[in-house]
Symmetry: C2
Subunit: 338 residues, 2 copies
């Protein structure tokens, strides 16, 4: 089904991540080298599993945030490369564990590591990458950066457990859901963006600006991801439309449709989400209800709201190509649904 | 089956962990308080799962090692309590993930967390505890201690993956097996013992002494654990005799029996270990072969060997009640099989 972008967001040219990619190109090559080196081990299964996921075509948005948020303050050293790699490893470890928790078969159109090497390898290689991430942070030696990233590690895991404990509960409110995605997605975006100014040695205002930018960008990113699950094309997404629904996952489009629905419609959602095993019939009905209540457009409107907060967080910083690139990433995240 | 303790190890009175327990009693109360506080979360499932394991009657040997190895150098602050708690959380996280990897139903005679709350909660609460462990280390602020413990985290995970990749392979040598237990068990004992002198601000010699003590104590501890799995009593162990064998786990008693066996006996081991689904008949046959080749006594002899290295590592340090207590722990670990 089509998604209508709110008028004020439509542009002749869609926003792009390309300026950020171009600006961080040289540093990202160093990140990629470090990823390969730190995912290495004499235990052959470790690089196999790690590289399967690392080379599977993610955008590497999070490490680019760290690089840009250090470089925009004139940082020239090597610490941001190590922290960016740590951030990507934390993210990769989370994905490996998520696939086990969600019992996922596919990620980005490829078989998940757990389907090839088993749940065991996914759990343990995730643990290894997390350990390597911490070693790189320790190597950088900034206790402030360690504080931010270790706190993020706890918060992410706490958010995942929260998600597990509200799973299948249709009384989940939008606020509950926001708590989940703030922890499980946005906290790492925030940490990735905050450690840049930390290693660059800026003042507290710049740290807070980048932290707020990352947090709100992360919320917008996750909300758009939730919309894409219902509105995207399988070929583009590397996963099937409606995967979240098929598995009974509660995301904002479901929450809005449920709360706005009739008693009969709410009964449908309850049963479908609780069963967590939905076929095409149920998906078609769900898409109809989501359309009826404008739940995708309204989820996008929420994403635009957080995107605006991210933009205002950066606004006071001096103009630079870095700032423009980070600003454009906000629109890029939201424009993905068009 | 009975186990004969080598003559030079037999004593009138068995060695005890009690002196260490007594010396660390006040600090362990602070550790226990900190465990409860840092395993807390508004997400109710987290303290439930964490407390299930934390309160299930482990000896808390690792945090006592950290406390003693700081106190023996006169350390008086609070950092060793935080690091001891971090060490226990790292251990708890490993147990939660291990139970998922091994698909275990029982630990210390109680249902495993994964049997009660599911694999998902075990993976995620483990991640949370690991995150909390790192936050406490960061709070202590010693980059040296962070380096030791984050390296241990990587090495432990690497050891677990190594164990996974040699699983069911009967060509595993004693050296291969030692690499596994050095990483998955002894590395945390070593790190727990090394961070004590680090926070106490000793010289390099004391750090190395405690690290070597912990590493070799850990090897002895794991080897005796392997013997206990074949020789202990279910009531004492909280698990059934022969669990390792039933699941097809390769430990040193199996390696020795296999390598010393006839062609027929080797064929038996190969099939039993590869099937990983052994009943009482096979267990009885395995116990017979283990007895025939003295594999339990020889595994204990290996444990005694590493225990002696641990003892010699501590030998040059000045005499004190702490040193005596740590020395007695070596014998205690080995005497457990009697």
């Amino acid at each position: 089904m089509g998604v209508v972008i709110p008028l004020e967001e439509s542009k002749n040219k869609l926003a792009s991540v390309q300026p950020l990619v171009d600006l961080t190109k040289a540093d990202m090559e160093r990140v990629n080298q470090l990823i390969l080196s730190k995912a290495g081990s004499d235990v052959q299964m470790i690089p196999e599993v790690a590289n399967h996921l690392i080379s599977s075509g993610g955008k590497r948005l999070r490490p680019m945030l760290t690089l840009a948020s250090a470089s925009m303050f004139g940082y020239q050293g090597n610490a941001h490369v190590k922290l960016a790699t740590s951030v990507e490893f934390m993210h990769t470890a989370t994905l490996l564990h998520d696939d086990v928790v969600d019992e996922s078969d596919l990620r980005r159109g490829k078989s998940t590591a757990r389907m090839i090497w088993g749940n065991q390898a996914s759990v343990l290689v995730g643990d290894f990458l997390l350990g390597q991430a911490f070693r790189m942070m320790v190597d950088v030696g900034s206790l402030d950066a360690l504080d931010v990233l270790s706190t993020a590690a706890s918060v992410i895991a706490e958010g995942e457990v929260l998600q597990l404990s509200v799973a299948k509960n249709m009384e989940t409110t939008e606020d509950d859901y926001l708590s989940v995605i703030r922890a499980k997605t946005a906290a790492l975006f925030a940490a990735a963006s905050e450690v840049g100014p930390i290693v660059a040695g800026t003042g507290k205002a710049e740290r807070n600006a980048l932290k707020s930018y990352g947090m709100n960008l992360g919320l917008a990113f996750q909300l758009v991801d939730d919309v894409l699950d219902y509105g995207g094309k399988a070929a583009d997404l590397g996963k099937n439309v409606g995967d979240d629904f098929r598995e009974g996952k509660i995301t904002l489009p479901v929450i809005l449709s449920y709360r706005r629905g009739t008693a009969d419609e709410r009964a449908f959602w309850k049963e479908a989400i609780e069963s967590g095993d939905n076929g095409d019939d149920n998906l078609e009905k769900a898409l109809g209800l989501i359309g009826k209540y404008g739940a995708l457009n309204d989820t996008i409107a929420r994403a635009v709201h957080y995107g605006t907060i991210a933009s205002d967080a950066l606004a006071p910083l001096p103009e630079s190509p870095w700032k423009s690139a980070l600003m454009e990433v906000i629109d890029f995240c939201i424009d993905r649904v068009s």
